[in-house]
Subunit: 342 residues, 2 copies
């Protein structure tokens, strides 16, 4: 065949790739009874806990571009977006699986870096890579990750548990990731990037799943519902409200905007508020907190030591979704990233 240039994954073949991958995986913690190399992996359940299972994929030219982002960042991000789902459940990560669709022209060095990026975060999060598969892709690079975690059944934070009057809190500051993506789309030269531009890039390429925060809040029973902000704040509020059969009112002035976004917004023809509200990719957490648990909640967030939380609104019995801005109220709209609408 002609499509196996030297140094590509096609040139060395599936078995050699699996062997390279296996060498990159470190020692397994005690709960992994069987890791890579068999028909399936075996994972000891946590005592008194249920298994938490989620999957998410990154597809080239939809979720990332190879020429924009280093392979290590792509691998790391593919896992991070899944860990963020566990964080939103208050769960502890236990293991991950990696399913790759590889274009024949992908370099072996890129393959190695992608796996390294994923494994580094997997080990740090306590969710070692225990299996997966490698196939050829006739089109885009496809990075599909599944994560298993565990949580006490009654402590799991679901989307649907919110009650009218619960307050909405969001972690961290928003808009940075989407600003970073816009900068990449506009051909930002990394070498020339300003401090603020670099911070936005980092927010896009290296999201930090809020695992300690989710777990700390879940253990204190301090939230009635939670969701992670993969598709933006407006989308997260809408999804939580719909799942809980409620409405919501967001206080525009309270939405925490990443200060770096304010610095770069003009250059990318966007307002910081738009990016924060509809941007997505920030992977912060949105919590519904009963007012009487406010102090417990804030203490749990603080104890986790990852980031702060800001009150941005409340859930309402009236099922409308509204933004309150300088005394006026307007619909929250249908903002957010829809994969089939870009």
């Amino acid at each position: 065949m002609t499509d196996r240039p030297d140094g590509t994954v096609a040139a060395i073949g599936e078995r050699a790739l699996i062997e390279r991958l296996r060498r990159r995986v470190g020692r397994h913690p005690a709960w992994i009874a069987l890791g890579i190399g068999d028909d399936a992996a075996l994972i000891e359940p946590g005592r008194g806990e249920v298994a938490v299972l989620t999957t998410d994929s990154l597809i080239e030219d939809v979720h990332f571009r190879r020429r924009w982002s280093p392979a290590a960042a792509i691998g790391r991000r593919a896992l991070a977006v899944n860990l963020s789902d566990l964080a939103a459940m208050g769960a502890t990560p236990r293991a991950c699986l990696l399913s790759l669709g590889l274009p024949v022209d992908l370099g072996v060095a890129e393959f190695d870096a992608l796996v390294d990026g994923l494994v580094e975060l997997a080990d740090a999060a306590g969710a070692p890579l225990v299996g997966g598969n490698i196939a050829r892709s006739p089109g885009p690079l496809v990075v599909d990750v599944t994560v298993q975690g565990s949580v006490r059944r009654r402590r799991a934070l679901v989307r649907s548990g919110a009650r009218p009057g619960d307050e909405l809190y969001v972690t961290g500051a928003l808009g940075g990731a989407r600003a970073g993506l816009r900068l990449l789309e506009r051909g930002l030269d990394r070498a020339e990037a300003s401090e603020a531009e670099r911070r936005c890039l980092d927010r896009y390429e290296r999201p930090e799943p809020r695992l300690r925060t989710g777990r700390s809040v879940s253990r204190q029973g301090a939230a009635s519902a939670a969701i992670d902000l993969s598709d933006g704040l407006a989308d997260g509020v809408r999804q939580m409200a719909e799942a809980s059969r409620l409405g919501a009112a967001v206080d525009a002035a309270a939405v925490p905007i990443d200060p770096s976004v304010t610095e770069v917004a003009a250059a990318i023809d966007a307002t910081p508020f738009e990016l924060a509200l509809a941007g997505g990719d920030d992977y912060e957490l949105l919590f519904a907190v009963p007012p009487r648990k406010r102090r417990t909640f804030l203490a749990a967030v603080k104890r986790a030591g990852e980031t702060s939380a800001t009150r941005i609104g409340r859930l309402t019995a009236d099922r409308a979704l509204a933004i309150e801005d300088a005394g006026a109220s307007r619909p929250l709209g249908d903002a957010g990233f829809a994969h089939f609408r870009v």
Copy 2:
């Protein structure tokens, strides 16, 4: 946008697709604490069991072609190949996740049929669809499935447990699936297909994971090792022998060849033995059985009521891999389907 013709997945968008998918999922069994619609699914572990986790993907134009196989068969097969991994561990399926990369031109009717094909098998196997994600693919249709099962730790059948002198048994009859694939490659007209051709097609498109057999053998502790034959008998023997640090001798005359293969082999320029040995896609199981457990093993296979098992050789302390044919011995070779070598 121009690439959203009526009736395609792109025209109706991600949320509508998720809603269609959700409607196709039936009632959950008791061990599913939380299914589709949250950040992650929650699954109760089996008492005294470990979780078994595996993932495998089907990628268009690598593992299937849309114009060859009905969408329902593609969806069903994407799950079946994963269930086969659980069968090879002796595990009981508990839940599955589906991660789809959808080309914009995929029809909604095809999407529905694909999901229906998967869900039907998922429900029959006791592994309901509990989550997943849907993304756009700028290239091939990508169907990535993860399955979680459970098994008693000490009953798990691994590849590496075989001992010298253990006998090799394979379930069912081999070669049919690869013959079916070859027929498709040669443009077989389904309407004109003979009985034997149809049986080969069925073996390729609708593999039957040997779940009851794997579980029955595992519960009786009747095998020292097991593996499923996704990449062919020769590959399975090699992988089991390597994992167990052994060699193997396969008796050519004993390999059970699908009778339909014998009927169609001439038309596809292959010998039935080649197809059976190196063909792949049959998803039968290969077991290593200590001679003193032979009767227990055969009784366990019979009790499962799915298929028979045939003794085809033995594992050896000498690490060579050989085929014994009419008194002569030749190397087993490196046969089997390698995804980067097709």
